[in-house]
Structures are given as C-alpha cells and as structure tokens.
Amino acid sequence: MKTFVCIKYVPDTSEAEVKLNPDGLTVDDSRFSFDINDADNYAVEESVLIKEAQGGEVTVLSIGPKKSEVMIRMAMAKGCDKATRIEDDRMADYDPLMVAKVLAGGIKGQEFDLVLTGCMANDDWHMTTGVALAEELGVKHASMVNKVELLDGKVKVHRELEGGLLEVVEVELPAVLTIQTGINEPRYAPIRGIRQAQKKELNVVSLDDIGVDPASVNADASQVVLEKLYIPEMESTAEFIEGEPEEKAEKLAAILHKGGLV
C-alpha cells in the first residue's frame, strides 16, 4: 500500500482572542500556538495503521512554512516514512481549489493507492480540499470517513452523516478518503521514533519543483477573492455572572435552585 497523507499546520484559536491585521484581510496569528489539524492527526494514525497491517509506505505532504516541520517530523516519528513540504508564496491564499491543485502536483507522477486528508481544517472550515484533490488526481473518493476496511482492489468505508447515521460504501482504489475525527486513537510518538524521524527524508519543494505552473494556482487563477474579514459582533443575551470563582458558583447555584431548574 502506498499512501499519501496531507496535513495542515493550523493555529489553535479555541481559547485565544482573535485580532485582524490592519489590512482587514489577514488574521494576526503571532500569538497563536500552531499544531497539526485535528482531523489530520487521525489521518496520520490511519495511514500508519494501514502500513502496519498491509506493509508499504506513507508519505506526508504539507503546504506550509518552515516552522511546520516540527509537525511533519512528529508525523514521521509516529511511523510515516518520508515527507514533502511545499512552500511557495505565489499561490492564491484563499481558495481550497488552488490548494487541491498544488497538493495534486505533489502527488502526480508517483504511484499511490490511497491519499488521506482530513475532512475539515479547524481554522478555515472549507471541507473542500480532499474531494477537489480526488478530481484533480482523476481518482475516486469518499468523504467524512470514520472506518476504513481494505478489500481486494477496493476499500470499504463508513461515511458519517448527520445524526450519526453511517453510510457504508465501497470505492475502487486508488482513492482519496477524507478522514473524520474519532476514527481511531492517535498514538503518542515513541521516543525512539522521534529520534529516527530526524533522519527521515523531508524534501522542501517549490511549485516549479513539482511541475505546477504558478499561473494555474495564483490569485489570478483563483475564481474567488477574499474581500474582507471582520470580527462578528457577539450577540449574547446571557446574564454574565460576576465575582470570584466561588461567588460565581454560589450565585449560579442559587439561580438554578430558585428558578426550579434543579
């Protein structure tokens, strides 16, 4: 089994205050901590599980800055064999279809059975890249996958639908699967793996190196334009309970009790 796994380096904004840069088109990400996208962490684990069961090789593919190599090395520490990092500032900055084209460039010309992506990036929320990538590669796909079973020449997967209903489908290989969180239990990188990962091959390439014409993926090629970003006003009608933590607890308990809620 030859597998590619696409991983994205994303900021953790769940606890952080988000501020825009003065251009109104970018987010000030200087204070965020970055790590592998949630779903991609599960995709990495799935790719390693497949390799452990079937043999073969896993290649990590990521578009991102130099500092994301920490994440890439971590994926290799968990068992991925090698990696390609694409960095090029000529690509469009806000279009998953362009990202898919660049990722396809990083795969085309090499043999593969499976490409795993996350089903959604936690920062930009498009849920678009993986399925677009399949079309760019001219192969089959299934999205929102939370179980993978390899059969002869095909793969049987569970697609997770709204309400937790599962749709079981069979897809011919090669294929792109977009992996949903919860599909497995991502491992921690073993110390030995971390040491070995430092010696694994990590190629840094530009668009030219992977044979992607910059004019086909730049801002002119993209058919959408990011017009502006803004911080939506938080409309809350909640009663914010104030005080020291213990006071807040007491006040809330009293409210719940008085309101007959408990």
Binding site: T13, V18, V27, Y94, P96, L97, A100, W125, H126, M127, T128, T129, V131, A132, A134, E135, E136, K140, H141, A142, M144, K156, H158, R159, E160, L161, E162, G163, G164, L165, E167, V168, V169, E170, V171, Q180, T181, G182, E185, Q223, V224, V225, E227, K228, L229, Y230, I231, P232, E239, P245, E246, K248, A249, L252, A253, A254, L256, H257, L261, V262
Partner: protein
C-alpha cells in the same frame, strides 16, 4: 439567464431541513440576477417530496431514476454536470452537508467553476455574488466575492437561516436521467443507524455536557459529582467523545444527537456551530468557559467566564446544600 438552482436534499425518504432553508436565501439572489429560483430533486419515487417542494412557489424539476435511490456522490456529480450544461444556471446551491461536500468540490474542479463552501449568507450586490462564511471557530467572518463565471457553486450551511413559510404552489417538471449505465460507480452497501446506548440523551431533563476543556479523563469525577447532585445525564461535544471520555451516543450536535432538556450545562465547550445545532433547543442553557469570546455564550442564558475547575467544586457543594 440568472436562475438559481437549489438542490433539495433528502435521505431515507425524507427531505432535509436545509432544502427549505435555502429557499429563504435563493429568491433574493435570483431577483438580483434577474432570474428565478428553480428547485431540483434527484432521486427515486419522488412524488411526495416533489409535491412538498412545490409549496414555496418555485418550479420543481424532478429527475426520477431508480439509480438515484441512495445518495451517491459520483452519480450526483455526473447528473449535475449534465444539468449545468443543459440549464446553465447562474448559481447552483446545495447544502453544506455530508452530501454536498461529497460532490460539489469535485464538480467545481471538473467544470472549472468557482465554489464557496459553508456559506451562511449570500448576496448579489452591484453585479457581484458575495458569500459570507466563518473561520477560526466562528470568531472571524470572511466575505468572499466570486469573479464572473458561468455558474457559481455554493454549499450553504444547514441551520444558518430559518426556512420560509410555504406560499404559492409551483409546478413540477420531469427531466430525463443523464446517467450512463456502464460506469463503475461507487457502490452503496448499507446504512447503519447510530448506536443506542444505556441512556437516551434526547429524552434527558437535565444534561451536564463536557468539552475539550475537561483536558483529561481524571477530571471526570468532578463532573460526575455535579451530575449526580442534580440528577443529570452526562453528554458532551465531539471532542469529548473522540477523546473517549464519554460514549459516542452521548455526543450532542449535527453528527450526534439533537437534545432539548430543560437545563443544559456546557462545561469547557467552545460552541462550534456543529455543537450549537444540537443543543440550542434546550430551555435553559448555562455555559462555563474561560474564553469570554467563546461562541457558546451566544446561546447561553447564564454565563460564567472562568476556569471550570475553580467553579465546579463550590457549585456542586452549594447545589447539594440547597436540595
């Protein structure tokens, strides 16, 4: 011609809410573009659903073919590709759902058309179609403008707007199926219903729900103590079920359960829209989160901005006392 084609989504014989919700948005866009709203239904045995969709005053085009009995992303892509060539709609809108996201990106690549996904607002202003979408856990909104194209593709978020009231009757028009027989399509095997566990949280009166803010399962006993005190059942966000802190059937949200307890206490849950969709129907919502900007506060009735572990022990103690 400026028509807005809305793909009505259905599953296991029932129309999905997003099909109606899109009809709150499509007419404004169609009017701006000088066209009409046309509803499209793909499937098999569609008479009842087609009738239901006509109740909003728009033409409903029906492609009834047994090959569409179950959703199949590849077949949808093939059919819609042919339909775009045939009808040349200005906009094709589908739900941003497990169906929509499974074929719209591929369709966009195939037809070299622009796509904006997970749209929550769609406007046609000064000859430009503009879509609003969210980023960064809902803390930032982006307005994305389409460059001129023959057809704009949009996947629209379920639950972003309210469905309109039924109005006038529209007509039904049948279409021929463009499917070719000999293509080896992805094979549908079966549906598996969501697991049922020991507690049905859709029936719970009080839910204490945990999120990633729990940090580790060794913190669970504190939550259980609170739940026990107020006779609540435990539930949680996807992050909590993915981490294995609570069973899968206790997950609240779009890919879990929609709950409507009289009291919902959200602890360390950010309030991603997929989560809010499952719990905003609760009668009273209490949220404890240390981030004052957490979207969960937009649906809360009572809010505490603080570290939940500093609040919890006293809360449980006080509630015990008051019993």
């Amino acid at each position: 011609m400026g028509n807005v084609l809305v793909l009505a989504e259905h599953r296991q014989g029932a129309l999905r809410d997003v099909s109606f919700e899109m009809l709150a948005v499509a007419p404004g866009v169609a009017e701006g573009m000088g066209g009409e709203v046309v509803v499209l239904l793909l499937g098999s045995s569609l008479d009842d659903m087609a009738k239901k969709m006509t109740e909003y005053g728009h033409k409903v085009m029906v492609l009834d073919d047994p090959a569409f009995e179950n959703f199949n992303g590849e077949k949808y892509q093939m059919a819609l590709s042919a339909i775009i060539d045939d009808l040349k709609p200005a906009v094709l809108m589908t739900g941003h759902t497990a169906q929509g996201v499974d074929f719209m990106p591929a369709l966009a690549v195939e037809k070299k058309l622009p796509l904006v996904s997970d749209v929550v607002e769609l406007n046609y202003e000064g000859d430009v179609l503009k879509a609003t979408r969210q980023l960064y856990s809902g803390k930032v909104n982006a307005v994305v403008a389409f460059k001129p194209a023959d057809t704009y593709l949009v996947t629209f978020r379920e639950g972003a707007v309210e469905a309109p009231e039924a109005s006038a009757a529209g007509e039904v028009e049948k279409m021929d199926s463009p499917l070719k027989e000999d293509v080896p399509y992805r094979k549908f095997v079966e549906y598996i219903e969501a697991e049922v566990g020991d507690v049905d949280i859709t029936q719970s009166e009080i839910l204490v729900a945990i999120g990633r803010g729990l940090k580790e399962d060794k913190n669970l006993p504190e939550i259980e103590a609170l739940a026990e005190t107020i006779k609540a059942d435990l539930a949680g966000s996807r992050a909590a079920t993915d981490a294995g802190w609570i069973p899968h059937d206790r997950q609240v949200g779009t890919s879990g359960k929609a709950v409507k307890p009289k009291l919902y206490i959200a602890l360390g849950i950010s309030g991603a829209f997929q989560h809010l969709a499952g719990m905003k129907g609760a009668k009273t919502i209490v949220a404890v989160n240390k981030d004052p900007e957490a979207p969960i506060f937009t649906v809360a009735d009572y809010a505490i901005v603080d570290d939940m572990f500093k609040v919890l022990p006293k809360l449980t103690e006080k509630l015990k006392e008051l019993k």
